[in-house]
Symmetry: D2
């Protein structure tokens, strides 16, 4: 619950002038779980770009008025973003649009670079000025720098991204083309599909394609670039697949997409997210069985694994906790003294199901442990006889540099305590995490990044870190004249 994905991208390339803003709106709605802080849509109406961006949920920023003020177009890209920002940092909202010598470019980015700072330094040394503190502006510069020397935007993109290290799933739109790129490690997901009337869709997850009534074609491969283009005056779309320049390709997709981020109805790199979660529950039941009366999941993220646990263990699945669906992102419990009760407003126990029962409680992960502790208290108050906590992922111990905002290491309960200590802190009768071994069986491959569990990073990691690394240093790097 204190872990955040930082972005979702969406793009549509139609074979006629149509309501691409509406379709992108639907796509972003389906990707909303990947970022709730800001969002934006850029419509390409025959080379003229029209953009709307704002802070808030898709439904807040794109009201009826805003949507109906956007033109039809032949292509559009969109973005949802997670990031706590002040009023002034709307500059960081995406997609980013830049004007350059050969036209305009709109870029939507999911991921995080590990070499953004040295790249930025180099660009600034050559006179570049930066409006924002996001990696996306650096990516734009890298592409535009190559654009001057190349004949096509796709060549520029291919060369430009070859300097980038880290995670990047990009959806790029020029006046005439749309380009989708996935980094050589395939850290963040990206897939594409086709709409009923022959247009193409790119999305961070397959649910984005289905949201516009499209059918998925396939995931974009690590290190692959797809170029959607059209001959002048002709509506037929050409799709070309290219390898991006340089770099070693080795799939290292993020395991946490399966565990927590992605929507259960999405299929990423061939594996159903829902099935992966159910499988994690089954593996938990095999690895750490327990005798109990009932299995229940912490809503919503623990439900799928709980169903898996129940299936494997034959212990009945039950709904023991009800989530208040009106408690939104912005809910803040008023009154200092009542702060500890926020969990009670968000979740309520169903006493009849809990009282006198031995319970297997499933959650997807533990970060600080404060919320799960409050839930355990709640179950005990409701009369639970025993509580056996099972976590459908290994313990978090390391920060992520690829676009996931995990709590600082110092707050991670698993960085400082072993399993039995955590069990005691939380007050549960037993506690078990999924083993790292089981992760491979969970999704049927070992080609994934699990650095957050074992510290084994697939790239070099930056010296400075934190999402605001460009925000503060100004006082130290200040122009002293």
């Amino acid at each position: 619950m204190a872990i955040h994905e930082e972005c979702g991208v969406f793009g549509i390339f139609g074979n006629k002038r149509t309501n691409v803003a509406h379709l992108t709106y639907y796509g972003l709605y389906s990707l909303q779980h990947r970022g709730q802080e800001s969002c934006g849509i850029v419509v390409n109406d025959d080379g003229v770009f029209d953009v709307r961006k704002g802070q808030g949920l898709v439904g807040e920023v794109f009201t009826d008025d805003v949507l109906s003020s956007m033109p039809q177009g032949n292509a559009a890209i969109g973005h949802v973003r997670y990031s706590t920002t002040g009023a002034g940092t709307i500059a960081n909202c995406q997609p980013l649009i830049v004007n350059h010598i050969k036209g305009k470019l709109a870029v939507a980015h999911n991921g995080n670079l590990t070499n953004a700072l040295p790249l930025r330094d180099e660009l600034e040394m050559n006179g570049a000025i930066f409006h924002s503190t996001s990696d996306t502006e650096t990516i734009c510069y890298m592409i535009i720098r190559e654009r001057l020397k190349t004949r096509s935007i796709e060549e520029a993109v291919s060369l430009g991204v070859s300097y980038l290290e880290g995670a990047y799933s990009l959806c790029i739109m020029s006046a005439a083309k749309m380009i989708a790129v996935r980094d050589p490690l395939g850290l963040r997901p990206l897939c594409y599909g086709k709409t009923a009337d022959g247009g193409y869709v790119v999305a961070s997850e397959s649910c984005g394609i289905h949201a516009v009534g499209g059918g998925m074609i396939r995931d974009i491969e690590p290190g692959e670039m797809l170029v959607f283009s059209r001959k002048d005056g002709v509506w037929d779309i050409t799709v070309s697949s290219m390898r991006i320049a340089g770099g070693v390709r080795q799939r290292k997709s993020c395991i946490f997409e399966y565990i927590y981020f992605a929507r259960p109805d999405s299929v990423i790199d061939g594996v159903s997210v829902h099935e992966a979660r159910k499988q994690a529950g089954k593996l938990l039941a095999i690895e750490t069985p327990v005798e109990a009366d009932v299995v229940m999941g912490v809503p919503d993220s623990g439900i799928d694994a709980a169903i898996g646990y129940s299936m494997e263990s034959r212990i009945p699945f039950e709904t023991g906790l009800v989530k208040n669906k009106y408690v939104g992102r912005s809910f803040i419990a008023p009154g200092q003294d009542l702060r500890t009760d926020t969990v009670r407003i968000k979740l309520s126990p169903i006493r009849n199901v809990i009282c006198g029962k031995k319970i297997v409680l499933i959650d997807d992960s533990i970060v600080r442990g404060t919320t799960i502790r409050r839930i355990v208290d709640m179950l005990k108050d409701a009369g639970a006889e025993e509580i056996h906590l099972r976590i459908s992922s290994p313990p978090f111990r390391h920060p992520c540099y690829y676009g996931v905002d995990i709590d600082s290491e110092e707050y991670l309960i698993a960085s400082h305590h072993d399993e039995s200590q955590i069990a005691e802190i939380l007050g549960v009768d037993s506690l078990a995490f999924l083993s790292t071994d089981a992760l491979g069986r969970m999704i049927g491959t070992r080609d994934f990044c699990q650095a957050c569990f074992n510290g084994d990073y697939p790239t070099q990691i930056p010296l400075e870190r934190g999402k605001d690394r460009f925000e503060k240093p100004i006082s130290f790097r200040g122009d002293k004249g």
Copy 2:
């Protein structure tokens, strides 16, 4: 989904000056499912009433600014309301506050009167003027009329409500007392409890009591009136139970509270809502069994019954449909041509779970049948082999006059078609409703109103009807001078 409860009430009577506005806010948050159109809180700060009302959800109306602008107090009542209203009809928001010869009165009402029109006519004949079109103003007048002849507010309430027919669960606050009243048929729920520090709480459902950390004492009985009072200068609270004047008492509580309205963690008249729904699922499995691979519920209202069906039938429970939790009350699909796709944005199928499977699909009720039809199509598109639809209530055939806003009879699919016709329209392989016989077994009593299923109303019903019966007639009853 096209059925709406019209209200929820909440009240708190403390034994010291405290943040009663915050507590009422929490209470209303937990009752939000009973009404999403408007809400209000009145704080009683030593006889001075401070009120805030507005259209929207509790979290929208009661922002941090608004809440922190409200004073502390010794008592407060609150209300959530379902009703589509224009800007001008904020006069209909509750609680209603009126000034009368002996002070002020704040009234929150859940339910609907069947004799509001003749009562109002009689009052107007005696010079009464009405600001709103809600039954609540009529109730106020009936009480105040008696107040002039009686020594205490509780006597006035007891006599005043004796003229009312229909459903009313009331929470009333005077300068010095709080009074809770439930109509003699007990049509709408109402219960009370105690907070950790000795105050008393009244709420439409037990979840409201738990939301403020309180413990439930019991349901208020049909025809009972509870008076919470305090001696001057003393903080100790006296609770007196009285029978309201006149009237036959015969429990006829609304069965639909169990089937759909109430929150699963609530316990109403001694029966757990969650258990009742699970029981409905089990009874469905017994009454209309079917061979299948998987049981799934339509989120959120069909999940509990689906778990019950799975338990009884031993067919595995699965999550086959994912609800987009960001699609709120106000979601409107933009673009005329895309309107049919609203369901697709709200619900997504998990293909792996559905494809090639024989499915038992559970929902709580069918109104027009349009949404469930769209869901059935969605499951078929995802590759379902067979779909057996089971509804955990009998077919709707009659309007409700007691505070539930069911679609007009002409749109109710079950008013015009039998089971096999409906199955054909929906395109399912089989369809079954819960029998009316099973309803008694579902909650362990037959003392409930099931007029919406069988047309057997426990009171006389009004000649004119519709929630706007006071809105339009003005042009016909206009003062022609």
Copy 3:
């Protein structure tokens, strides 16, 4: 500047179905100076009333969206109101609409009753309940009480208002008629006129009639009631003038309308407001001449009198102070320490005009003296050699009970100091007020109320006072059961 008119009323009675909401909007815009806190419009569309009310200026409440959502109609009334109110007291916004046995009534009221409290007590003794704390609700009850016994709404109004004491200019709308009433003393202004296409308009000031392109017919007389009606099915309008029941008629119109409240382009009871102000300036020049280089007025209220003073004295008129037109009603200087500088943001001296000059400075009145003192300082800082302050009205010494919100007596500088003391406090070289004798010459009649200057009230005055007299007593009059 610390004196506030409490209301403005407007009504239109058309001879066809037309955009009466738009016309009322224009009318209210022109009356905005009479009240800036809230406003409202009620449209009568063939007996169906549609109302929009809100807190804020006319342009804030009646946005394009709101206006275009209102229906066309055959009549409408509107209201602007001055009153500092909390969110909850939107109940006090006008026009007030009430439902009674013979229909609906919408009432807009400008003025203040001096016997509201005893009337209200009597009504409450008979079971009346009050939603608001405004006099208007009491007026409604008085009318409706008579309506039950009479054959027409005009009879009811005539009898109902005969019980009222104090100031009331009313615009009343029933399903079929519009009625304008002015109290027997004619304390507040009220006039009527005709639109280009044959409809009738009622407004607090003649500027409201011109705002809709109409021509003024005449002022409504003290104690007169005008009834605008139409035969069923016929569009021709009948206008009948009647005397309201009982009461002595003696014109006592408010002199302060001429001095400060009314718009300079209005003509009230046959006297041009602009001319009256200019005349006040001339009389000041005659009564208290002074040698000076330049005459300037405090914008905007002192400009007209300054022109008059200049004309009479032959001392050149100049613009010495510029008003920042972007500093609105809601401007609050941020930062505690900067509070004294608010005047500096609102007004700026033109140094060239001031430096080294002997200045006659004209303002319309002095209340606390804080603003004028700040202005005097500003002129001195800009190099003024001498400052001779002339006030175009006598000193304020008494509260008003007829709808003007003058500061409490304890803050009125003239209640505690004589002219020479005030001059010393303000730091001016000389100070003179207009004599009370001159007031008669200013408007050519002595039939006006000047109680605020001499304490000679034309009616009995209430024992309790203050605009919130119904707000607080609740704690003392509280229902103790």
Copy 4:
């Protein structure tokens, strides 16, 4: 009225950490007349920049909440801007903040470049990317490009701006310094002063200095650059004056600042704006005398000249038209058929002053002539016997390229008609404009730009023009890959 200044700039450089945001807010309030579409403030808190920008008036964007969320600081700059923009072009709001290799830079710009397009093309050829379409971003690039080669920010500014042609009054803030620059022609005004506690203030007009309680020191000279700096750890401020690199210096300040834009209490390049306007009125009376009863000005822009005309001609000055001070920028008359009446809502005639009179009517300029024509009609309707229109500037015939948004030439009434034709169109008895000869006498110098009157531009003018010259070409310059 259809002429718009495009910007106002403000900067403060304090000698301690204080509420610079509040002071800048006051400064922008006083410069609001120079731009009402968007505004922004950047606070420099020891090298950390905090920015707030938004569309709307200063009082709308900088609410209490926003202002109080800004930190204290040692320096700040602010900007008000006139420009009609869509939601997406918030990128064009100022001040602009950019990050470069040696720190951050915030830039506020008043004026318009005539060589922005070729400069931009050159920058883009070298890989520059542009986020906005404003000249300000080009200016930033020019400065930063030099910054890489120079030792100080002031050297970089001096060299960078030497490439610019056209009008630019800049307020620039680096981490440690504040720099004010005025172009070599001095087209737009810029001055500086000192606050009571020893800080320095830069503002477009002297009223901005007075708004923060400061005293004016002097105007910044054409081609001058002022650098405000401070030694590390010391609060004493050093102010250095430098000449910007290259360029011919020849004062060509904008005459229209005196005629219309600037606030009357401002003194620009040694001349009081109010006095200049009064002088224009006197010159009009000398050049084109007429016999009349009364002189009146069109509020607010014609009042000062009317006073001058009255002084010279001895014809009494009067207020004949009242402006409705509640009709703001955003007033839109609802209802198609009523559109012609907008002027009637904004301005009202005082009939007594007009009826039967021979009137000299003064306005500052005529653009299309539609508004003045409506005013003339209004005066005639009010009974004016004769109307002699005098315009206190010569006729507009040419576009401005230096930051003034004059209507397109095709709509300028004076481009197509001579004086007598215009008089006939407007329906006045006589019409006269101020002669171009008189302009020199008006401000006592001939060193001003009057290109809008005579087409004599002090710089080369661009081939393409219009403020949106960077908006549209994208479709033609589109990246075709």
